[in-house]
């Protein structure tokens, strides 16, 4: 049963933001919403500006225009212009596309870092790290290894687990499929689905792997160079020829 935008309570509302690097405009007039319980994916060809939009939501670049509102269940926070570490404290966990682990720290230290700056209760942090190691057996197995020595799939799992340590409200994932073998990719996407269902964490996913992203997400937004093109429920978009046109050029 697809969720329609009208009867949804948005936890994130992005309203006509513009992202620019100096004079270069990366994306303009971008609006999107994420409803309660949803996984939303942001698609589009290379260079469309998807990562820039994600970075603006995560606070790694300040949007030049527009507003971003985040409802954490109690209050609505204005995010635009706040730095990334403040957003992390509000419960927004961003997993970038590349360089996703701290290579010169062990797996266990990487996990601990995920909550060290966000949780004041040290005992709760230790409990959270331990329960994540139970949930990700490969990380427990590798806990004393340097994270830089893990395989791509293991690093991806570690980054996702680290984002979960402080129990976030919303996860922003930049190309979780990048560099993964098809089998590992299936595992990671299955993991994301479980996290969404079991932990009740909403997700915004930037993806190049359109087929997999449409399978995982509830709704999709499709960007064209620097602007939003169209959006809709994933099962409709999977048969929509506008999607092919967006990638191949119409």
């Amino acid at each position: 049963m697809p969720i329609s935008v009208s009867d949804m309570q948005p936890i994130l509302t992005v309203d006509r933001i513009e992202v620019r690097y100096g004079k270069v405009v990366a994306a303009t007039d971008i609006s999107l919403v994420i409803g309660k319980g949803e996984i939303v994916t942001l698609l589009g060809p290379n260079g469309a500006g998807k990562t820039s939009v994600l970075k603006a939501i995560a606070g790694l670049v300040a949007p030049a225009d527009g507003r971003i509102a985040f409802d954490d269940g109690k209050t609505v926070h204005e995010l635009a212009g706040k730095p990334g570490h403040v957003l992390a404290k509000l419960g927004i966990a961003h997993v970038p596309a590349q360089n996703i682990v701290l290579p010169r720290m062990t797996v266990e230290e990487n996990l601990e870092v995920g909550g060290r700056f966000l949780m004041s209760d040290r005992a709760a942090l230790q409990r959270s790290v331990r329960s994540l190691m139970d949930r990700f057996p490969i990380l427990a197995e590798r806990r004393t290894q340097y994270a830089g020595l893990l395989s791509g799939g293991e690093q991806r799992q570690l980054a996702i687990a680290r984002a979960l340590v402080a129990k976030p409200r919303l996860m922003l994932l930049d190309e979780p499929s990048i560099g993964l073998a098809p089998k590992t990719l299936g595992e990671i996407f299955g993991l994301l689905k479980r996290i969404n269902r079991e932990d009740g964490i909403e997700m915004l996913l930037v993806e190049q792997n359109v087929v997999k992203a449409l399978e995982l997400a509830n709704r999709a937004y499709v960007m064209r160079v620097g602007a939003m093109d169209f959006s809709g429920p994933c099962e409709d978009l999977a048969r929509d020829e506008r999607l092919a046109n967006a990638y191949l050029g119409s």
Partner: protein, 295 residues
Amino acid sequence: MAEYLFEQFLIGISTGAIYAIVAIGYNLVFGVMNVLNLSHGAVMMVGSFGVLLLFYLGIDNFWLAVAFGIALALVTGLLVERIAVRPLKGNWWNIKVATLGAAMFLENFVTRLTDGRPMPYPRPFKPVYYTIVGDFEVSNVQLFLIACSLGLMVAMMLFLRHTTPGKAIRVVAQNPDLAQCVGVNVQQTMVLGFALSAALAGCAGILNAVTFGSTYPFVGQFLGLKGLVILIVAGIGNVRGCLIVALVLGVLESFSVVAGGSQYRDLVAYSALVLTLLVRPHGLFGEEGRTGREI
């Protein structure tokens, strides 16, 4: 002869430990901000003169003077960060020139205030010599200097490894974007790295002045260069490597003085630098591809 060698060995260890503190000061700023702070040596000099300033003002307490010297170095370092580093927004070459300018300003400012001659330096206490075995002797000042330098190094390593601000520094050094994602205030951590580096510079300047019994306005040039040599030979970003290379270099320098005279002292350090750059440009303990953005 054996006693003389032993004495030189002790001198080597204590100068080596001071070099290590200097190199780690560079490393902290380089790590968190990816910039080379060429005013580091001048900040050491300011620390050493801070001690003298308090004596000059009539407060005759060595330990209070040391605290004041370190605090003065810290404030100077923070001012350099505010004036010569932060406004340049990470521009590698501009920051090198600006911090070099800050060093020249500080050195000439102090020269102006003091007429530039080497100034005799107070000692923490009267030297007492203890006999270990036979003719092997060690003074309490020597022991104190070695204990202070090594203690500072160990404290620094424990701080970086186990405390929350120490971890923040290590996370920012590895990946500033990721640091934000896990809730680290990157700007604040950079200032903390700069402050720690400046305080360490102050300590190094004071320890060096006590070792040689004097200080002068350009003392930081020689110490600062030695620190840089160690940073490059050990490999940027490696605290333990810095300590090992610094101690070995200190002892080798001391023995080269025994073997050939004091003119060979610097030859050892710079030969090590040239050899490292030829054979292993990322340093003995460094990782390939981590030699900074544009050097």
